[in-house]
Amino acid sequence: MTAATAAMVPTAAVRTPWSEFWRKFKRQHVAVIAGVFVLLLVALAILAPWIVPYDAENFFDYDSLNATPSWKHWFGVDPLGRDILSRLLMGARISLTAGFVSVAVGAVVGTVLGLVAGYREGWWDRIIMRLCDVLFAFPGILLAIGIVAILGGGMVNVIIAVAIFSIPTFARLVRGNTLSLKHLTYVEAARSVGASDWTIVLRHIFPGTIAAVVVYFSLRIGTSIITAASLSFIGLGAQPPTPEWGAMLNEARSDMMTSPHVAIFPSLAIFFTVLAFNLLGDGLRDALDPKIDRR
């Protein structure tokens, strides 16, 4: 292998799925910006305990109750004297964890179920799809409320509830992909040379479903963050004084008349976070969907 042989391969001709994806994705400027924003947010959430200006739960500035934004408190102070910026930063940890963990669990379980249902068909398929129908028979947040009513309130149970209601979406998606992939020639070829079911599913079918799962993953995180915040808002999730964004809004509700800024900043935090995940998801979909492009 010399420099001469390497030079003979024109770099543009190497089109791995990954480079193909990147080529299309970086054209979507909005999605790239959203992606950078998400990364920044994750970094802020991880570093939050070290960078917050004040303690989010136990620091009370009694001299500036309800103060509007200033140099000392960038996002102002809530009626109890707590610094809103600090609370939002600590809250980012909770909301991002809730969104990510619940969707990850839902995606993993749903993908496994979808692969089994699509590949085995027959009874497995019928049972799994029937279970999904049942989960779909409860409107999303209602299912979460039911689960929280059984397990009790608190953020962990909210995550479990949101995870459970993410499962059927992923299961259906992956099942559909599996059904269409498994009759393709390359899968038939793998079977004809005696590959085991495990090999076929894991090496040949599963990779074909990843693109769809990734797109849904990003879009679902937005939905899950909203659902988790909604549950906290109606008093079933994180409890005060936890700086969860939905719980913060619930606390701010009684002081809406006198100090609207206490409610505005958590609202904006949820909005921009969910917006970023949705824009990122849209961009990923456009970059990963083979039907789009080719212009």
Partner: protein, 306 residues
């Protein structure tokens, strides 16, 4: 068509049965003894035993389920632990405000969503499209409870144009239905757009244009009907979303509907009410999906013969 209807109705039976069993099991999944829960925190063991017998909780599970299912079929969900009134009466009082709120939200959001989606598809990648889609992606990203608080702050508190809470007149419906419908309008707009964009590239649209028809006729007469097929399905799914969303919106606007009733019931651990509401919500959802499937079959005849 009749055959299709019968097939669909029969297909619902297993789902309904499983939903019924799950809702029934709900009481037994709750932490603690349901009889003690029903009797109240300071009941004597004798009272608890009496309540257990009264509610039939001492019988074997299958028998209890038959009793529960029989009650449900007669519209009897037991009595609320809090008010001691029949659950069916409790729910009946709250049913209409939620229904009207959902219908109002559905009506405006579907209309606006489809208009925005159609305009975006027609002026694809131009400014109406960009504006419409920016609005739409914002709509799905703004949480309903935050939007509700914001609207209330602006229109009820600052401008004093509209009432804040309650459901007494049509004016009370404006803000809650706006809040509830925003996300749905956004989803409908996105969905209509992508459905329309695909349709507008089809051959028969090109033929229609080649015939010299005006663009308006092409879009409205030829495009709309076919673009509507997937949109109708989406509408059904969104109705379920609205039912769920109404729970949060009802809390924000202190709406006297089923959503608030549910949240209060969860707070008070009033499990017969929770059971009745969860069952009703899912029944509505299943029913709406059935209606949507039937509508779908009316619009698109090929579905019926599958």
């Amino acid at each position: 068509m009749l055959q299709y209807l019968v097939k669909r109705l029969l297909g619902l039976i297993p789902t309904l049965l499983i939903v019924g069993v799950l809702v029934f099991m709900f009481v037994h999944l709750l932490p603690g003894d349901p009889a003690r829960l029903a009797a109240g925190p300071d009941a004597t063991p004798a009272t608890v035993a009496l309540v257990r017998q009264d509610l039939g909780l001492d019988k074997p599970l299958p028998e209890q389920f038959m009793r529960f299912a029989g009650g449900v079929l007669r519209g009897d969900f037991g009595r609320s632990l809090r008010t001691k009134r029949p659950v069916s009466t409790e729910i009946a009082d709250r049913f209409m405000p939620t229904l009207w709120l959902t219908v109002a939200a559905m009506a405006w959001s579907v209309t606006f969503g489809m208009i925005i989606g159609t305009l975006s598809a027609v002026w694809r990648n131009r400014w109406p499209d960009r504006l419409g889609m920016t609005l739409a992606v914002s709509g799905i990203s703004f949480p309903a409870f935050a939007l509700g608080m914001l609207l209330m702050q602006i229109f009820s508190v600052q401008l004093r144009w509209l009432p804040t809470v309650g459901a007494d007149s049509w004016r009370h419906y404006i803000l809650p239905s706006l809040t509830l419908g925003a996300a749905v309008a956004a989803i409908m707009a996105r969905f209509t757009r992508s459905s329309f964009v695909e349709i507008l590239q089809d051959d028969y649209i090109r033929t229609a244009r080649a015939k010299g028809l005006s663009e308006t006729v092409v879009v409205v007469k030829h495009g709309l009907r076919n673009a509507l097929i997937p949109v109708v399905t989406m509408m059904g799914l969104q109705f379920g979303f609205l039912l769920g969303g109404s729970i949060v919106v009802e809390v924000v606007f202190n709406w006297p509907g089923m959503g608030r009733l549910l949240i209060d019931a969860v707070d008070m651990r009033d499990y017969p009410v929770i059971q009745g509401l969860v069952l009703l919500f899912s029944l509505e959802f299943i029913l709406i999906n059935l209606i949507v499937d039937l509508l779908y079959a009316v619009i698109n005849p090929t579905i019926r013969y599958r």
